[in-house]
Amino acid sequence: MEYPRGAFKDRPREAGKEGPHRATRAGQAVSDGRRIMTADEVRRATVRIAHEIVEKQAGTEGLALVGIQRRGVPLARRLADAIAENEGVRLPAGALDITFYRDDLSLVAHQPVVKGTDLPFDLNGLTVVVVDDVLYTGRTIRAAMDALMDFGRPRAIRLAVLVDRGHRELPIRADHVGKNVPTSRDEIVKVLVEEIDGEDGVAIERLVAAHL
């Protein structure tokens, strides 16, 4: 007699009792990288972008900065600091978590941990400069724009990134770029910021297949 599935298979218990495990980069490991921006270069690029933003928007009126979690957030704050120093005006700065707007739910092994959105100002009618560390496929920015729209109707959205590494998958470009870096897809661009990583800098690392 043919016996339907399920009836006789071992039923291993949900392995919930052995305590937590830590997520790792699935199937991949990172080799040692090569530094492409020093701390000083990061600082100079930030200052230059701050000037560009004010120049391009002809002043600071109606401007706001929104950093994408996580490393976009300290970068946005630094831009706000630099603009305050140059122009004497403190732009509103916020943090945006795009976790719930990602389009790759089916590609990730686990849901990313939510880090939180903090937009302590009304977006309506403002020109919002979205700040992130690296621009790559453009999907993060797409998600960020969707998320922003749920908070209000900005007059315009601009984009500032520290590194543009190419390989766009969507028709998105940055208005302000710290450094254009040609990369291949099997490389990772690592941005370090002092507030999170204890130092500033940018490195390129090569992905290697994990021996697992």
Partner: protein, 344 residues
């Protein structure tokens, strides 16, 4: 530490964050303490979404969440529905009658049918303890238990925990005296709360008439306790239970309990176990009052108690949506067999 353009490379979860790895949520007994923490923090984010002008995010866009309740319930079903819709899921609601069981329509058959109809996440309530385990065995997606028999009601336990953490000073349950008062025997809410509250370090008391505590003392009296879980106290002495309590949760008393001879009358229950202002005076002055609903005001809980500021019954309802959003979101991120990705 990397660019994280989605779709391009795997997500790196912070080294301090536990990853969620349960494909189904059938009970809270399988959740480790840091996994419960993750649910709580994710629910925080969901509450943030609920506070927005547009309380909706596209996280589950295109996902089919099918809600099947074999037992009548409005509040839990609607809570799940709102939660799923806030995450932009497509919601299919099925009111399955228990009579389909007697007609020979098997649970397994129903599960296979809704799967063929495109269900990817299944929220189910069933009158038979353990039914979601059978469903999970035959369903390729995710099963979320919305209550099974007397056995478990994990989302209720987690929303209760969330509400306590939110409202207790210091946000910690450890060492707090939590009293669950009423019909413990028939309560899946109590059973799931036993796991989550003892895991959180609460000083848990279960109180009710002896007929409605049957068998619970054998569980509570475990000397060593279950792994990671402390003991709890089982008593019919309502004054001892309420003395210096930090949280008092009353459970619904159903009329059927008298028909089956477990209680002489509702009047007698109210007189001896009803949560009144007088009785509550024995608890701490700021003790929280909770109730999983639906309430029989005037029976297990006095309307004057419900009216107190520290009665957080409506918070439980609101938090229920946030916690269910969090669970739907977390479950949706786990693919295939449990832990299959761990091979990496």
């Amino acid at each position: 530490m990397s660019d994280r353009d989605p779709g391009a490379e795997p997500i790196v979860v912070g080294a301090d964050a536990p990853a969620w790895r349960h494909r189904h949520l059938l009970d809270v007994d399988v959740l480790a303490a840091d996994e419960i923490d993750l649910v709580m923090r994710t629910a925080d984010a969901m509450k943030g979404i609920l506070a927005r002008p547009i309380a909706k995010v596209p996280a589950l866009r295109g996902r089919n969440v099918t809600i099947i309740f074999w037992e009548a319930s409005t509040r839990t079903r609607v809570s799940f529905e709102v939660a799923a819709k806030n995450l932009s899921a497509d919601v299919v609601n099925i009111a399955a009658s228990t009579s389909s069981v007697t007609k020979g329509e098997s649970l397994v058959d129903t599960i296979r049918t809704v799967q063929a109809l495109g269900a990817q996440m299944l929220v189910m309530r069933h009158g038979t303890s353990g039914a979601p385990y059978l469903a999970a065995e035959h369903f390729d997606g995710h099963v979320l238990n919305g209550g099974d028999g007397w056995h478990a009601h994990p989302t209720q336990a987690l929303l209760d925990l969330y509400t306590m953490r939110e409202r207790l000073p210091g946000g910690s349950i450890a060492g707090r005296k939590v009293v669950i008062l009423g019909d413990i025997l028939h309560s899946r809410v109590a059973r799931s709360n036993i796991w989550s509250l003892t895991a959180a370090g609460a000083d848990l008391w279960l109180c009710g008439p002896s007929t409605l505590l049957r068998g619970l003392d054998r569980w509570g009296g475990r000397a060593a306790g279950f792994p990671g879980h402390g003991r709890f106290t089982v008593t019919s002495d309502v004054d001892a239970a309420l003395r210096d309590a930090d949280v008092v949760m009353a459970l619904r008393i159903q009329k059927e309990r008298m028909d089956s001879g477990l209680l002489p009358s509702l009047r007698e229950y109210t007189a001896r176990f009803g949560l009144t202002l007088d009785r509550l005076a024995a608890a701490k002055p700021d003790a929280l009052v909770m109730h999983p609903g639906p309430m029989n005001e005037g029976v297990e809980i006095d309307p004057a108690v419900v009216a107190l500021d520290r009665a957080v019954i409506e918070d439980q309802v609101t938090n229920g949506v946030a916690v269910r959003m969090a669970l739907l979101y977390l479950l949706a991120g786990v693919h295939g067999a449990e832990g299959a990705h761990d091979a990496a």
